[in-house]
Each structure stands twice: as C-alpha cells, then as structure tokens.
Amino acid sequence: MNDLDAEDWQRFEQLVLPHKDNAFNLARWIMRNRVDAEDVAQEAFLRACRFFRGFHGGDARAWLLQIVRNTCYSWLEKNRPRELMVEFEEELHPQAAATPESIAVAGEDRERLVRALENLPPRFREVLVLRELEGCSYKEIAAITSMPIGTVMSSLSRARRQLHSTLANPTNEEALHAV
C-alpha cells in the first residue's frame, strides 16, 4: 500500500500529518458525520501518501485539503449521490452529528448552527467551513475547491445569506427541529 521509503515518510510525517485535524474537520462538515469523516480522511491520507512524490513543496495544508475534498465527493457520489444533486432542498434531513458532550459544553446555539450548516448544499457548506473554521484565504479556497476566485466569493455570499435566513427564520428552524 505504501510506496514511501523512510526518508519520504519522514517528510510526509512532518509536512502532511500535522494537518490531520484540518483534514478531519473539512471531511466532517462535507460528510456531515464523524464516522464517515474518519473513513474518508483515512482514505485521503492514503491517496496523499501515494501522490506525495508529486508534491514539491508549497502549501501542504491546501494540498491535503484538496485531496480530502475530492475523496469526500467521490465517496458521496458513490454512496449518497442524492446529496450532490440538490442545490437547496428543505427536506434534506440533517444527520445527528455533534456528540451530546460537545453540545452540552458549547451550548444550544452550537446545535442550532450545526443543523443550519448541515442543511446548506455541500458546495456552499465547504466554502463556508474553509473560510470561517479553517481561516483560508480566497486564493486557498480556490486552490482547494478548483473554483475561480469569483465563484468562491459568490458561493460564500450565498452560503452566508442562506445560513443567515435559516437561522433568522423560525419556520425553517421548526422544520429542522421536527426532523
């Protein structure tokens, strides 16, 4: 499975592995649950390892996140293709994601935000997560998602607008609660 010799592995360990939290977080928000996220992140690291010889320096986090993202979408296409077809579908059921502990700790608003985020279409959700949680620049987001910067900007705008209206609109809130 692994083509890396000891020296390459050491570089891989230094450059790529430290970004595993970033990889997991992105996967978790695209996949909408931790279990699938862990599987996909693991698969992404396998791929990263395989492609590692082709990585000639630069931003290792963006490089890895690009692989994570592609792995997520391949997985979704294969296992949950419906999720990728919807642009915005109100009855798209958000899955339980946050652990009871994390909710208890961070409060109810977290739960509400998780549901609202998970109700966004994946392409909007990912730009928002990359920008707001990962702190990526537009340029980095463009590199990770293979979108032009203009599209990054408009996707972010639509994502924010949708999130804002979901959170502000009690009807949507109730619909989410009812799930």
Binding site: N2, K20, N25, F45, C49, G107, M153, S154
Partner: protein
C-alpha cells in the same frame, strides 16, 4: 432589492481580501449605500456566532493510529522523547491500566471497553503531543493565570487551586484530546512527584473515588458535579488521596 456589490465586493471587503485601492473605493460606496452597511453588520454577527459555537472538530486519535498502521514503512524509527513528554506518557499509560483494572473490578460500572478505548485515546493524545506545535499548556503556580488560560480554551472550568499549604504545588495546566473532545489536565507536584489531574465534563452522576495501582503508578478516578476526574501519579495512593479530597470538597 440587494445592492449589486453584495455578492462580490462586500464579501471581499468583509473578508479582508480587497486591495487597498478597492477597499477604499468600497468604503466610499458604504457611505452612500443603504443596504451594505446593514449586511456588513449581519455578516459580522454571523461570524461571531460561528466562532463562539466552537464548530471546529478535531480528528479522533484513532485516525492517527489508523494512518500510522497503514502507511508507516516497516521498522519505524523511534524518536527520542523529551523527559516532560515521557512523564505525560507515563501518566497516560497509568490511565490505560486504570481503565482496564476498573473494568475488571467493577463490571457493572464498566460494562464495555469504552473506558479502555478512552484511555487508549489519551495515550494517543500524548503521543500526538510529540508533534511540533501540539504541545500546548501553561506553566504557572498562579491559580488565576491557569484558570484564565483554561477559560480561554475550553467552555468548562476544571477546578484549579494551589494547595501549597497541604503540599500540593500547582505547576500549570494543559489540554488534551480524548475522542475528539477536549480534556483539561491540571498539573501538581508533591515531594518531587508529578501529579496529573485530568478533568472533563460528563453527564453521568457523581461517583465515589476508586483507586488502584499498576506498575508503580497510582490512580484515583471519581465523578463530581458533572465532571469526570482522574488523578495519576507515581507516588503512594495514601499520599494521593488528600489531593482527591481537596479537589472534591
């Protein structure tokens, strides 16, 4: 009717992505536009809310384990660890024993391998702390400083006191991850022995302390006021007990 810049310049301005000239131009626009300033405030509120909610989810330690199991070449080189890290590791190893022992002693409390899993994760978390940039912590005997440090990092408050009168000197604190959840470790020293008191929130009811020892490590675990505690050290349990009582009372 939204402003024509709402989906473009406004976002770029809010995200600090505009060049100086474009930003200045957009600021001039802001003085005349009735919608953009309002949206800017909304964007800011939304961002604040996302940040406060701590939505970032870090990888469970099992991910690292799986990656290593699958990818690391044969005959891995062992890395020489710093003494401090080994102390943490030793404490974590003691925790594993705690979980295993506790499970054997009391099958009603520990009906599955969950605790062992958790303890294994703690070990992973400590191995993880070998990686550069992951060893976070505060070294201080100042209760307020340590409390302040924790309050900026986690939304629960592990009890922190300096029991120097009783012989338990506060050394500081640090964070660790167990199952993707943050746990606090408050560090004390007693007659030259280091004690780690791990604490994290739980939903379980209070539980009387149970103690045990393995390979020279003594541990006491208990639950109080929706917090799970585990104190670990290499000193005799009789000397560790006073600390447990001080923390609980």
């Amino acid at each position: 009717m939204r402003c024509e810049f709402a989906d473009s310049l406004l976002q770029g301005y809010f995200d600090g992505e505009l060049t100086g000239a474009s930003a200045a131009e957009f600021e001039r626009h802001l003085q005349h536009c009735v919608d953009c300033p309002v949206e800017l405030v909304d964007l800011d509120l939304l961002r604040g809310r996302l940040q406060v909610a701590r939505l970032y989810e870090v990888a469970p330690a099992s991910l690292r384990r799986k990656i290593y199991a699958e990818l690391r070449p044969e005959a891995p080189k062992t890395v020489m660890a710093k003494p401090l890290v080994w102390q943490w590791l030793a404490a974590a190893a003691a925790l594993v024993l705690l979980a295993v022992a506790g499970w054997q002693l009391n099958p009603f409390l520990r009906t599955d391998d969950y605790q062992a899993e958790v303890a294994e994760e703690i070990v992973e978390a400590h191995v993880h702390s070998l990686e550069p940039g992951h060893l976070t912590g505060i070294r201080s005997a100042d209760v307020q400083a340590v409390n302040g440090w924790f309050s900026a990092k986690v939304s629960f408050a592990p009890p922190v006191h300096n029991y120097s009168k009783e012989g338990f000197e506060l050394q500081g604190g640090r964070l660790d991850m167990v199952e993707g959840r943050t746990v606090a470790a408050v560090v004390y020293e007693h007659n030259g022995h280091r004690i780690n008191v791990f604490a994290w929130p739980t939903r379980e009811r209070d539980d009387a302390p149970h103690a045990g020892s393995r390979q020279g490590y003594e541990w006491i675990a208990w639950r109080k006021a929706k917090m799970e505690f585990c104190a670990v050290s290499d000193m005799p349990a009789a000397e560790l007990q006073p600390l447990q009582r001080l923390i609980t009372d």
